[in-house]
């Protein structure tokens, strides 16, 4: 039972007991009052009987009329009192009736007695013995009757006394019973409360002390269903949770310790790494001549790496703010640097500029600076961090390279011009050699022996080959010098024109040339046709036993078109990848496959002029695929 319920029942029981005791005491009090009133009335009767007894004795001695009147008055009062008796129980009423009858008899006897006395007084003669005896006998009867009445009244008093005693006993027993019940209830309540409160609280106290000493394994083990039981179970539950949490915490601490040690190890390693990287960075910065810096735009404080200060040829104290930085710049660069800084700050843009820094030795160092803006919580620029790269040597190299390029371009032009001129100018003497050799052969036909004819044929053949080489070389040189401007070109049309030029070879070799839909690209149509012609021509020329199958395809890739020409020819060993695009380089003898060895070199030169690349994929015996790209 819960303690609150127990308290409730105890309170109800206590109130009930108090009410019962109060009612019993009230009832007993009323009963006592009633008994006292009855007793008082009966005592009054007894006193009146005693008075009658005294008066009777007086009358027997003196026969006084006044005493007679007194006797009659007392008897009347007693009779009236008896008629108004307070008793209700039949046996008590019967006793009262007996007393009343005796009093009546006493009245009769007294009347007889007084009659005898009056008769004696009236006769004025000596009283005879008969009357004297009668007087005494009546007096004796009267006396005995009064004693009997007294006994009856005493009996009534005794009954009343017993009533009072019984009432007292009943009240006492009832009060005792109620008090004992109350005491028992108090004891039971105290014992149960002791059991349910003090004992469990002591257990809890012990538990708290035990737990406080660090022993979390303690449990009250309470099974009580009251509030203390709930508290004890909550306490046990709390200890369970606490023990569990403590175990988890210990495990977590152990894990945390491991992690911390690991972290410390990592930090140590990272610190070493950072230190090493910092050193490397410093070395790298030194080697790269790259310094890092930060400018606190709010407080106008500049800090930087060691290389930064070295690049500026200034100490950190000297290069502490923007004004100091500005003072170190070449006066011609200050304005545009200031403009770039303001632009970066206002537009939150990338800071990127180049400027010259005056060195203490009077020299000038070329710096390329980059930086980014850091903003505060309100979005206002707060700082700028960035790098300074010493590009003095780069600038010098660039200038030198520019000059070299210019020289090279001029040399190339001169060389191309030379090749063109040489090729063109060599055409004439070569034609003369060939013409006159053929003329010699015609004029002296029959005069020359076979050997001479053979020699002349060799000379003519060499001149012809020489002429072909020169033409090819001329064509090759014209790619760079006589090329047309790049313009949108329908590659499908270009391929079609190429195939018409190759129609004889295609028909002769029974080749089958197919193609995808080809796009329009920016190209020199004639040069692009030259590429298709060389690649398809090679595919037919270097065919296998099978009939040649050539397929021209194109792929749209990021920023460029990638064309491919795939065949089923003899294939190429990949180890010759570097050779086949070199001019006049051949993988086969002229007897095996005719040609000058300039076709793929032309292709490479054309594609490079268009800004693209050319390569191939092949395996010997499994055909080849040549790729080239044209930028979009």
């Amino acid at each position: 039972m819960r303690i609150s319920t127990r308290f409730y029942f105890t309170a109800v029981l206590a109130v009930a007991l108090v009410i019962a005791i109060s009612l019993e005491l009230r009832t007993s009090s009323q009963r006592f009052k009633a008994a006292a009133a009855k007793r008082e009335a009966v005592v009054e009767w007894l006193q009146q009987i005693n008075s009658l007894s005294h008066l009777t004795n007086n009358y027997l001695l003196q026969a006084s009329p006044s005493v007679r009147e007194q006797w009659l008055g007392v008897a009347s009062n007693l009779t009236e009192a008896l008629s108004q008796h307070p008793f209700t129980l039949p046996e008590r009423v019967a006793v009262v009736e007996e007393i009343r009858e005796r009093v009546e008899r006493m009245g009769t006897l007294f009347s007889d007695l007084s009659a005898v006395a009056e008769a004696v007084r009236a006769t004025s003669v000596p009283t005879d013995e008969l009357r004297r005896n009668k007087f005494q006998t009546i007096g004796s009867f009267l006396n005995i009757t009064m004693h009997e009445s007294t006994a009856d009244i005493m009996y009534l008093l005794d009954i009343l006394g017993e009533d009072v005693t019984l009432a007292e006993a009943r009240a006492s027993s009832m009060v005792l019973t109620l008090v004992l019940t109350a005491g028992l209830v108090v004891c039971v309540v105290v014992i149960t409360l002791h059991r349910s409160l003090v004992g469990p609280l002591a257990t809890l106290q012990k538990g708290v002390a035990t737990v406080a000493s660090g022993n979390l394994a303690y449990r009250t083990g309470s099974r009580a269903r009251d509030e203390i039981g709930d508290l004890a179970r909550s306490f046990d539950g709390m200890l369970d949770e606490l023990q569990k949490r403590t175990a988890e915490l210990s495990a977590a601490n152990a894990e945390l310790r491991v992690h911390r040690e690991h972290l410390e190890q990592l930090v140590e390693e990272r610190t070493r790494e950072v230190r090493r990287i910092s050193e490397h960075l410093a070395d790298a910065q030194a080697m790269a001549r790259l310094g890092s810096w930060e400018w606190d735009a709010v407080h106008d404080v500049i800090t930087g790496s060691k290389e930064f200060y070295r690049l500026f040829g200034a100490s950190p104290e000297l290069l502490a703010n923007y004004a100091a930085f500005n003072a170190l710049l070449d006066p011609n660069d200050r304005e545009h640097v200031q403009r770039e800084v303001e632009k970066a700050l206002t537009e939150n843009a990338l800071y990127q500029t180049e400027y010259r820094v005056l060195q203490p030795d009077g020299s000038c160092r070329q710096i390329q600076a980059r930086g980014t803006i850091t903003v505060d919580d309100l979005g206002h620029p707060a700082a700028m961090t960035g790098t300074c790269l010493d590009i003095t040597e780069l600038k010098q190299a660039e200038a030198k390279l520019h000059k070299t390029n210019e020289d090279l371009e001029r040399s190339n032009k001169e060389l191309e011009q030379f090749a063109y001129v040489a090729s063109h100018d060599l055409q004439e003497p070569l034609r003369m050699v060939a013409s006159y050799t053929q003329l010699l052969a015609q004029r002296y036909e029959g005069q020359l022996d076979e050997k001479a004819k053979k020699y002349i044929d060799y000379a003519v053949d060499g001149a012809v080959r020489m002429q072909r080489l020169i033409n090819d070389l001329l064509a090759y040189s014209r790619i760079g010098t006589r090329g047309k401007a790049l313009e949108p070109t329908d590659t499908h049309a270009v391929l079609g024109e190429t195939l018409r030029d190759l129609a004889a070879a295609i028909e002769e070799s029974r080749a089958m040339v197919t193609n995808d839909d080809l796009p329009i690209v920016r190209a020199d149509a004639s040069q692009l046709a030259l590429v298709f012609q060389n690649l398809i021509g090679n595919a037919i020329k270097f065919r296998s036993q099978e009939n040649p199958r050539v397929h021209v395809a194109v792929a749209d890739q990021a920023g460029e078109w990638v064309f491919s020409v795939r065949d089923n020819g003899i294939g190429i060993d990949p180890k010759y990848a570097d050779r086949i695009f070199v001019i006049f380089q051949r993988l086969h003898t002229r007897e095996e496959y005719p040609g000058t060895g300039i076709g793929l070199a032309v292709c490479k030169r054309v594609i490079e002029r268009h800004g693209g690349r050319i390569w191939f994929e092949s395996e010997p015996g499994k055909g080849s695929t040549f790729f080239f790209s044209i930028p979009k």
Binding site: T108, I144, A151, T165, S172, S173
Partner: protein
């Protein structure tokens, strides 16, 4: 350390609570013990039953004795009562003196008549008061009112209360004792005496009055002979028996006191006993019931009556001067029912 202090403290508290609870019970019991005694039934004496031989008659004054026997109240007192019947008190007293009886039920007159000669006799109290003595007269002899008995022959059982009552009857009716002729006659002979004309009237007690009425019917008239003076039926024993069987006698009185209370609450039971034992029928019982008072007492009135009758007896030349107060033994009655002792110098004693 804390757990040890808790357990010691708990042990001390338990002992303290046990002592307090025990003390409370003891005090409560002591306070309420008297009341409890009142409520508890009287302890029945243990051991073998105590024998008490009673001498009496079938007269109506034995009502309490019969009711006590009917209700087993003597057995409750562990008493074995034997009841021997006698016609009058004198032979019963002889048996008492012979040691064959322990208590005799006799009128105070019978006690006085024996006590003057037998100093061993003592009186313990009375259990009934009766007023059944009547003067029964033949109308045909000219007796219509009490004074008409002048010059008549009156049958009287001499040596009994009837003789004393007849003299008082004459006196209260202003008749000298010598105006009548007393014919000694026992109750059994009265009917014949009246019928044969030996006497004109008789003075006798119940149930003889009713028997005479039944036999002689309307020929008879009756006058109360003790209208103002009752006969006490006393418990008479000897000094020796009292000292030897005081506990049994107290138990006997205790049973009679309980019977008195029972008779007040169960009058029908008392009446049934009277009807059964008197063998006179219910009408007789109902007729005489107002003349009977069943009361266990030792009254001043008894003492006065004894002394009065003793003086009368002495004046007639019977007996010897006797200190009747000294023959009263109030001890058993005081032990059983103190309030029933109204002898003036013994009131309030226990």
């Amino acid at each position: 350390m804390s757990s040890v202090s808790v357990s010691v403290s708990g042990w001390r508290k338990k002992v303290l609570w046990a002592l307090l609870f025990t003390g409370f019970l003891v005090v409560a019991t002591m306070v309420c013990l008297p009341a409890l005694r009142q409520l508890l039934p009287e302890r029945i004496p243990s051991g073998p039953a105590r024998k008490l031989a009673l001498g009496g008659s079938t007269a109506e004054y034995n009502g309490l004795i019969w009711l006590a026997e009917d209700k087993g109240l003597f057995k409750q007192q562990n008493l074995l009562i034997t009841h021997t019947l006698f016609d009058t008190g004198a032979p019963a007293v002889k048996e008492l003196l012979a040691g064959r009886l322990d208590i005799v039920l006799a009128s105070e007159f019978a006690f006085i008549a024996q006590a003057t000669q037998l100093p061993e006799l003592v009186v313990l109290g009375s259990i009934a008061k009766v007023r059944t003595l009547q003067v029964v007269a033949l109308r045909e002899r000219g007796i219509g009112v009490p004074k008409d008995i002048r010059g008549k022959r009156i049958g009287v059982p001499l040596g009994t209360s009837a003789e004393y009552a007849l003299e008082n009857f004459l006196l209260l009716n202003d008749l000298p004792p010598d105006v009548i002729t007393i014919v000694p006659m026992g109750p059994a002979a009265m009917e014949a005496g009246l019928r044969d004309g030996k006497v004109d009237a008789v003075i006798v007690w119940e149930p003889n009055v009713q028997r005479l009425r039944r036999m002689l019917g309307e020929r008879l008239t009756a006058f109360p002979a003790q209208k103002d003076r009752e006969t006490f039926w006393c418990l008479v024993t000897t000094e020796t028996i009292l000292s030897r069987k005081s506990q049994a006698i107290e138990g006997f009185l205790r049973a009679l006191v309980a019977t008195e209370i029972l008779a007040a609450s169960e009058p029908s039971a008392l009446r049934a006993g009277l009807v059964r034992n008197t063998k006179e029928g219910p009408e007789f019982v109902d007729t005489i019931r107002p003349l009977l008072q069943f009361k266990v007492s030792l009254e001043q009135a008894l003492l006065v009556a004894i002394e009065e009758e003793g003086r009368w007896m002495l004046a007639r030349g019977g007996g010897a001067p006797t200190d009747y107060r000294a023959r009263v033994r109030p001890g058993p009655m005081l032990a059983v029912k103190p309030s029933a002792v109204t002898i003036i110098d013994l009131r309030g004693r226990r």
